[in-house]
Symmetry: none
Subunit: 200 residues, 4 copies
DNA sequence: CATGAATGAGACTTCATTCAT
DNA sequence: TATGAATGAAGTCTCATTCAT
């Protein structure tokens, strides 16, 4: 019988999906485990059947998504595109992720990558992997002459990723409008700014 | 006698300074009010003599510093420098602030400007003021032809400030070394990247 | 299985009953929630599982009992007795309530009906219902000529209820002995005094 | 120089008067010492110059007034009036006290005489003195035949005083209108009810 | 006499987690 | 797998009281 197992897996998924909405709405620290259970429509004891602790839910959400992103960056890097196009592919992937599930991206950014004290500290190594992959792209672009050498690859990676995250933050904070047009346009603007510079 | 008044003011300052260290070390949510009192060497209740709530301490720290920064940005903008030099002055001010009191900058960034849910939400208007001032610098540079018009001023401000904050985060997270040389060099790199671009 | 539901209901009841003893012994303001939990033999948090706040426990106790009393007054009023006998039935009900659970009556009188500032204010409407029902009895007795018209029904209700409450207070304060004989005799004395007067 | 002493006495009086207003408005348990000081327009340290504790303020207010009342009752009792007129004089004194300073009477009733747990317990002996004096009046009236003997003097005193207090409570709770006419009329109604009875 | 800064014990309440059913 | 009653540690905030000036 595959049904019970399926059901079990689905309940776990239901809880994770509910957690995304609750974390996005109330924040990790401010919400209660029972809020997640309520949102998922299950008893809150069940949350502890699938996860050992409240933190494990957030960890799971982060790692699930971050690994997909690392794979996307690796794939972009492995392609035969120019460095500029690789960076575009990365920006595109992240922004499309936001379009597809803004709550999830909000949670990952607000509660993990921008939370240096708590979860950011835990997942530092994972986060660093992304920077390093981007650094590699820049370094190779410097080696083949398409990027200039004055700016270190590590710094470039920081600047590129920081720019993306700030743009997403603008949408999350509702500082900037986040319609489909703005999302699409942002992909170009990010690459244009970081690669071409404001002085053009 | 001015002494009593001075003493009172100083105790309040002592508590604020202690809070900076405690917030930086343990995080706002993780620390207890008694940790702040202990760090300041005062009785528990005195914290509540000067502040109505734990949150008010963080609010105070943020507003104190952010207003200084807004003034610095305004001053840079009012000067006769080129847009690039104005942006350099802003990066310089922020990085020098970090050098002078890394804990305070850590607290402001981690607990306020990067905390979309809690305090960031509260101080959105103040944070936005900084972006708008920077936008203005870019817009005027576009008008006089020194910056190209493809990138909107709002986006440029986001990218510039995001780049700075990400660099500071790298130091705060200890992803990147933060010696005096690195701090000094970062000022140039930030402006070089945002204004000149990776492709130079 | 009805057992779990029963158990749950019983725990709530256990807490309410313990609260009566604690409130009676220490007073609402002076006791701690942990005193109630200790008296009930349950964990601290369970009190908050069943009640949102300490006040809600007292509210519950008051409303539970007051509604029973209002029903008893209504029943007395609906009967075919004389006004004097109706008043006797009311005095009887209240004094029997005291005999059955002196702690509960003490709590209701001391902490609610005689506490104009805090809980009395909250439950004013409920308290007033009792006066109004008694007023009605008097008014009808005046209409049929069994009571004289010089004393307004509202005033009569106040006097009658005040007399009962003062007698109970005497027992609660231990100003007067409260043996079974005294309780029984008080029923007659109250009605005798209010209906017949001291001058007889 | 008598002035400083006068000033000192006045400050103490100012604090007591302010306490009456604050206790009446917020209740003894709910108000803070600083509320009293604010109302009096003095620093709250000064309250502790004149009184050893918050409770002492209430004790003082109660004893000051209760002693005046005991004297009034004694005076009524000592006169050559009928028992009915003596009771009228007592009711008159208490109601006139309420008219003159409703806040003070509210505080004494709500916080002391009707608070069996806290202050009532402390001042039981003083409160009992009033009942006993009234009992004496009734007992002598029974001896001279003007009151019937079925109702014990102790019970009669309780009923009489309870009736008065309930009427005042009605005004305090704002259950009944408390205009000058109502106050005046209540004096008669109280005596009429207790002495003559509802059945007249 | 007068001030109000300073103290610190203690209260209520929250909520992550466990566990019996 | 599923429930939600039960636990209790921990945290924020209050406020009566003290005391240096």
């Amino acid at each position: 019988m595959a049904t019970p197992e399926r059901a079990a897996v689905d309940k776990r998924r239901t809880i994770l999906d509910a957690a995304v909405r609750v974390f996005a709405r109330q924040g990790f620290h401010t919400c209660r485990v029972s809020d997640i259970a309520d949102e998922a429509g299950v008893a809150y004891g069940l949350v502890y059947h699938y996860f050992n602790a409240k933190e494990e839910i957030l960890d799971t959400l982060f790692l699930e998504r971050w690994d997909v992103m690392l794979a996307a960056i690796a794939e972009a890097d492995a392609s035969q595109r120019t460095a500029r196009d690789k960076l575009y592919a990365i920006a595109e992937f992240i922004i499309d992720s936001y379009r597809h599930d803004p709550n999830l991206m909000k949670v990952i950014i607000v509660e993990v990558t921008r939370a240096a004290n708590t979860f950011g500290r835990t997942h530092l190594a994972k986060i660093r992997e992304a920077y390093q992959q981007i650094s590699g792209i820049v370094a190779r672009a410097q080696a083949d002459g398409s990027f200039r050498k004055e700016i270190t690859p590590e710094f470039a990676a920081l600047a590129f990723y920081g720019c993306i995250e700030q743009v997403l933050s603008g949408w999350i904070f509702e500082l900037e409008p986040a319609g489909p047009g703005q999302l699409e346009r942002a992909k170009t603007l990010i690459v244009e700014t970081i690669c071409g510079g404001l002085e053009g």
